[in-house]
Symmetry: none
Subunit: 90 residues, 4 copies
DNA sequence: GTGGTCTAGACCACC
DNA sequence: GTGGTCTAGACCACG
């Protein structure tokens, strides 16, 4: 749960990695709602747009899904064609 | 080359559609450099972030490719696996 | 800057009247930005929806115009120009 | 607020000296935001790279600190706290 | 001078 | 109260 402001890697990618790692190490259960975007702003100390860009990455990678007005939840990676997605994308 | 500010469709999607249409109707040639992001801001009357979001859509759809520091160019749609991309994405 | 919760008149109309009166008595100058919607919620002690309905009234009456992402401004009642950029939806 | 193009001293050092002097003579208050990089380009009549090198000097000397997306501010020389959020790269 | 990242807000749509 | 769109800037990295 930490990012390095002196690291030249964009903050949004650091945040995405941080959350991705938490998901992969099963810190969350599938379907669990993670912190809201404004809470993430505060805990990481960045602006809302930066958080949104980070979450957008993880939604593209199928780690998360967002339901407008309700929150952001952890997806079931095993049930997704995540590998195909990444092969095409990368 | 026009968007409707009263249309509830997000501006960035209207702009993406507008540029996509210009590409599909062969207004541009493959590899041609389109207007810079700041020029697009002015011609559409929106902010930079909105233009970036619109271009990002078209890059994902393989209509455009961006070379940092150089500009944004029209991709060759026929040489891409564009249909596969869209089937998975949609 | 006051509304009466015991008055049977809907709160949103009371708020609209209150703001309209401030405009007509020239408390604001033309083009001046008024308080944000969330600030109005707090100062009137009502919900966001109520504030939006009140502002919607004044936009329809051409007392105010809203620019997405920028704020809500006082219109020039005498010059009914086309300053409404986006239809408000309550 | 003046540099001498005929002086053999590099322009970026002249500009750094000029700004440093303004800070030391308390033309600015601690925490005050100075002119943006593009404004400095115009007022000194030099390129962006030159301004960045000048600011980089002053950041290293702890006269200034830069906050990405916000601006460049005057540091408190007496309190060498850890306010540099991102390493500057020229 | 391009595109890339980031800020600190605003208003909008939905639950 | 959530997430979604948008603004008007800032500085950063690259060519």
């Amino acid at each position: 749960m930490s990012i390095d402001f002196e690291n030249p890697t964009p903050l949004y990618l650091q945040i995405a990695s941080d959350i991705r790692e938490q998901i992969e190490t099963n810190t969350f259960t599938v379907g669990e709602k993670i912190a809201s975007q404004s809470e993430l702003c505060q805990s990481y100390g960045v602006s809302l747009m930066t958080v949104k860009k980070a979450l957008s990455e993880l939604v593209n990678e199928k780690y998360l899904y967002i339901r407008t007005g309700k929150g952001t939840c952890v997806a079931d990676i095993n049930k997704q064609s995540n590998l195909i997605w990444r092969r095409i994308k990368v």
